[in-house]
């Protein structure tokens, strides 16, 4: 079955009792046992909740994995994943990654886990920092906010040869455009707050594993630590998934037009969008993804213009987050990436001229006009 079909009918066939085509929201803590030593399969909602479980099953299937787990935020998902590591482990990470992930990893240093942040689009940098105690590679591709694209197959081969766990944050493109597990990744993580739910109304995170063994291990942590996604939020994500394909297609189409517009604008110095043929990552993206997504970053010619742009946009909303039906504009150096040291920010190009756009499903001409007005 095609992904569009699976998406449209996410959770539609679960309820045998009534035939309800919408998954019921099991807003419940506990379940009655039929008798001593018997269970309906559900005992306590932290351990398993029908609404959350359906979302998890749907995600595992769509991502092409064996097991999925839903969490109360993207950070809670990554935090759960980190619990499989132990003191002395070393992890190689994409250098321009989401600031919140960076902040979380910095906390794990207290538990004796080491991190190296490198440009994961360049395998030489990875090879250079790899040590005997390296256990995992964690990448974002496209990265945030510079939208560099790493070669997933190449890195998967490297990980396999060196026995590293390969983790891909697939938030920006989602399984709709990119399926890292099929290219050799072991785990995919998501902020479900973004494209998966897609309406800027949920905070959530999801992990999908390639095999059952790691899935079971992570489930143990999910249940023990308890950073689970609530029933109502699980239902909202399921509801969001039903339109993922139409949203993604429209958002990507809009983004392509806007990226081209920005590329030709005289007050724009640089445009970062992997779907532009002029992008250095265009070819690798084409090879591994079926779409470029709806995130664009760009540099304006003068940093003094930034605050004026942010206060004068009329269609774009000046807000953090991304992936929703509404277009957002963000100033990464002080918002999403403020937790990152300035030195690293500057090296990456996250400077005071850089703005990030999350393109929504509005009319592209309105969005272009809005940008044109504020860029003047």
């Amino acid at each position: 079955m095609q992904k569009e079909t699976l998406l449209a009918q996410a959770g539609s066939r679960w309820d045998e009792k009534t035939g309800s085509v919408s998954m019921p929201i099991y807003q419940v803590a506990t379940f009655r046992h039929p008798a001593l030593g018997e269970s309906t399969g559900f005992d306590y909602s932290r351990s398993g909740n029908p609404t959350r479980n359906v979302l998890e099953d749907v995600m595992a299937r769509l991502e092409g994995g064996r097991r999925a787990l839903a969490f109360s935020s993207g950070m809670a998902a990554i935090d759960c994943l980190m619990r499989i590591f132990k003191p002395g482990d070393h992890i190689i990470v994409t250098e321009d990654l989401y600031g919140g992930t960076f902040r979380l990893f910095e906390q794990y240093k207290n538990f004796g886990i080491e991190f190296n942040y490198v440009d994961t689009t360049n395998i030489d940098e990875i090879v250079a920092v790899k040590k005997d105690n390296t256990v995992a590679l964690f990448i974002e591709t496209p990265s945030n906010p510079i939208l560099k694209v790493a070669d997933i197959e190449l890195l998967a081969r490297f990980c396999k040869e060196n026995n590293l766990l390969f983790i891909v944050d697939n938030t920006f493109l989602t399984f709709f455009y990119q399926k890292p597990l099929q290219m050799g990744a072991d785990v995919v993580v998501y902020s479900a707050s973004k494209y998966l739910s897609g309406h800027n109304d949920v905070i959530g995170g999801i992990i999908v594993t390639k095999d059952d063994e790691l899935g079971e291990k992570l489930y143990f942590f999910q249940n023990s630590v308890g950073g689970i996604m609530s029933p109502f939020d699980s239902w909202l994500v399921l509801r969001g998934l039903k339109t993922l394909h139409v949203r993604m297609e429209r958002q990507t189409d809009n983004a392509e037009r806007i990226a081209k517009f920005l590329e030709n604008h005289k007050n724009v110095l640089k445009v970062y969008y992997p779907g532009l043929q002029t992008s250095p990552w265009y070819n690798v993206l084409k090879k591994q993804s079926t779409g470029a997504g709806a995130m664009i970053s760009f540099e304006v010619d003068n940093p003094d213009k930034v605050s004026r742009i942010l206060s004068n946009v009329k269609v774009f909303l000046f807000a953090e987050s991304l992936g929703g039906v509404e277009s957002l504009i963000t100033f990464p150096s002080v918002q999403t990436h403020s937790a990152m040291p300035e030195e690293l920010r500057n090296k990456l190009g996250i400077n005071d001229r850089l703005l990030r756009l999350s393109i929504g499903i509005e009319n592209s001409n309105d969005l272009i006009e809005d940008l044109d007005n504020v860029l003047k």
Partner: protein
Amino acid sequence: MKIRTKIIHSGKDIDEYTGASSIPIYQVSTYAQKDPINLGKYDYGRGDNPTRHAVEHVIAYLEGGKSGFAFSSGMAAISSVFLLFKSEDEIIVTQDVYGGTYRVLNTIFQNWGLKAKYIDMTDVSNIEKHITNKTRAIFVETPTNPLLKIIDLKAVNEIARKYNLITIIDNTFMTPYLQRPIEFGFDIVIHSATKFLGGHSDLIAGVVVIKDEDLSIKMRRIQNSFGAILGPMDSFLLHRGIKTLGVRMEAQQKTAYELAKWLKDKRGIKKVYYPLLDEHQGKEIHLKQSDGGGAVLSFEFENFDVAYKFMKNVKLPLLGVSLGGVESILSYPASMSHAAIPKEERMKLGITDSLVRLSVGLEDIDDLKEDIDIAISQALK
């Protein structure tokens, strides 16, 4: 089983499928069918929804009726009940009925030829002289809103039986926790479930409970055809609210009774209306048919000026429309619940410009007293 247990264990409080200790929220419009001819029990969300059915079951069970129906508002519930009648029919209605009921009867249903006669039912002998061969029903509120007059349910029902009339009661103020009119023979019980049943001022809902099978069939047809149903999320919230109905009602009415006794001796206050006060004319009848005085009281100031200043100065109870929530709510019937009644009529009923209504919440009584005390002193300055 006692009512406080019945509230928690209604028989529809557990999901049969998974054992979940609360009914799932079926946020759904349609149900997949196994057979094209023989449709399953569930076919479309307007007619059937498991979340709504659960709360309908609970309210019917608590009221002691055959069936329950949940609507998108108290007025949707009341209006759906009026759809049982036809042009030329007459209904006899309690005089100081809720303003919204008055409005829908005197505008929409009057245009359709349904006639309402408003009469003082505190003396039930009044009722009989207004019955004609077109009279079909008696519609009662007791205690009434906002003056908390008491109507004898048993006596009203006896008259209704004699003339073969349907008896309807708006039981919003008492809830089945305190008063179960079906035990006195009433045919239809209505609630604004927005109030004490929901109890948290976070939803708008209405319910209808029907005593017998025949009227139930008619009501089900109206609910499904007219379609003013309660949504799944609100059904869930209402069900959740009902679980604490007993503890809320007990605490709220205890504070209300204390406040009523305390207020009647306060300077600046002319009169306090509360069914359990010794001077209340209906006290004896009320205690015969109810298990408590409820959590709503009204009081009248010396004049409009004092009442106005009091309402401006009071801080704890929120000033607003509605009642029955965990937070105390102070209302001004003249401009709020009874604004739809012409001033002349309103004054005649005793709903003067100096009258305020207090729905007592779950706050500490000492804090409420202190707040009211200060507001009255300031108003009298």
